[in-house]
């Protein structure tokens, strides 16, 4: 949960606060959890809701902050390896909706079905967000063949 929160919000302390709020909420709603169902996906659902509520409250602040953000600039790759900071910057440039889907799929390795349940969106929406996010990341990261990488099965 800390990993997902960190990737989602970027800042370490904000992320840990999000985890803490999520855990508190999870306990208060624990009676809603069906034993035998996927606890991890359920916790991600709660984290998503807490995050969205907080974001709604902060929307005004965020909008203001966004105006001050510089456009995403990706450095030319040095040597053979894409800098991880570039990846992070590109990740931040995605919309929140796209970032959630990408992270749940790529980092948390949920199935599309689990993502659809966790975020309470149709599976078609999961696919279209994933697809758009990945294309955007691909464009921003350029088309360099940076790393010989086996395709993950």
């Amino acid at each position: 949960m800390r990993r997902y929160a960190r990737a989602l919000v970027g800042d370490r302390y904000v992320a840990d606060d999000l985890v803490q709020d999520t855990l508190e909420r999870a306990w208060n709603k624990f009676y809603l959890w069906r034993p035998g169902s996927d606890l991890r996906a359920w916790l991600f659902t709660i984290m998503h809701n807490v995050f969205v509520n907080q974001a709604r409250r902060r929307r005004y602040e965020i909008e203001q902050a966004m105006e001050e953000l510089p456009a995403v600039a990706v450095r030319a790759t040095q040597g053979e390896q894409l800098e991880l900071e570039d990846v992070d910057r590109v990740l931040r440039s995605l919309s929140t909706e796209q970032r959630e889907v990408v992270l749940l799929v790529a980092v948390e390795q949920l199935t599309y079905e689990q993502v659809s349940r966790a975020l309470d969106i149709p599976i078609g929406t999961v696919m279209s967000r994933l697809s758009r996010a990945r294309e955007r990341m691909r464009q921003l990261l350029g088309n360099q063949n940076v790393m010989p990488l086996k395709v993950v099965k």
Partner: protein, 238 residues
């Protein structure tokens, strides 16, 4: 293509996509880029799993003590799940060489040795332990695993990324070998929970205790290895 990258296809479907990709280089490039994104994102954020958990998170407070206990239980469950699933998130080609991987590598190099599995045999245990302790700069102990059927074979000094490493080797009656790998860790002293990693055929339980990392490797079932790891941990932290 996305399902292909994320591993959701059956063997037959994957073979079909493979064939398509061979004929369509643009799509193949796209698939390669997506897989790389997955790997980069994981290597970017997997290190969060190794950070110590901040105290406030371990003490999520709600109104009643029962709530407190349950929140802790949920959190523990979260940690447990994370730990159980952790091995699946490691993308070997992307992650810096980890303790588990170094230990597993040392295990596969030395465990099959017939004539020279160790440098100093168990018959000279006090000398072995004294020597390795001196080289690692701490007081080491070779755990006693006799009750679990594993006897000390001996040990050796290895070179690791962070300097000298001690490896103790154990063997059961059938010749099944386990190795305990002890290495100094860089950075601030910290403690971690048990973690599990599957490195090819080698199962590894590892943890960090203060300035030292410990990894127990063996080609045995995870639950059996865990039993041994718990005994090792208890003996090292009486």
């Amino acid at each position: 293509m996305h399902t292909y990258v994320d591993g959701g296809l059956s063997d037959t479907e994957r073979a079909e996509v493979d064939a398509w990709l061979r004929a369509h280089p643009d799509d193949a490039e796209r698939v390669r880029a997506y897989a790389e994104q997955n790997a980069l994102l994981r290597s970017l954020y997997n290190p969060v799993l190794d950070e110590p958990i901040p105290t406030p998170l371990l003490a999520v407070r709600t109104r009643a003590w029962r709530q407190y206990a349950a929140a802790a239980a949920i959190f523990a469950l979260g940690i447990g799940l994370g730990w159980l699933l952790r091995g699946e998130f490691i993308t070997p080609q992307m992650v810096p060489v980890s303790l588990a991987r170094q230990a597993a590598t040392a295990h596969v190099v030395y465990a099959p040795e017939v004539r020279h599995p160790v440098e100093v045999t168990a018959s000279e245990e006090p000398h072995l332990v004294g020597w390795l302790s001196k080289r690692l700069g701490t007081t080491l102990k070779a755990p006693k695993l006799g009750p679990l059927g594993y006897e000390l074979v001996g040990g050796r000094l290895l070179s690791g990324l962070q300097g000298p490493v001690a490896q103790f080797m154990y063997q059961d009656a059938r010749g099944q070998r386990l190795t305990l790998y002890v290495s100094r860790q860089r950075g601030e002293p910290r403690d971690t929970a048990f973690r599990f990693s599957q490195e090819d055929r080698v199962s590894v339980f590892y943890w960090v205790d203060g300035n030292y990392g410990y990894a127990l490797s063996g080609e045995i079932r995870r639950d059996l290895l865990l039993q041994v790891a718990e005994v090792v941990y208890k003996q090292l932290n009486p």
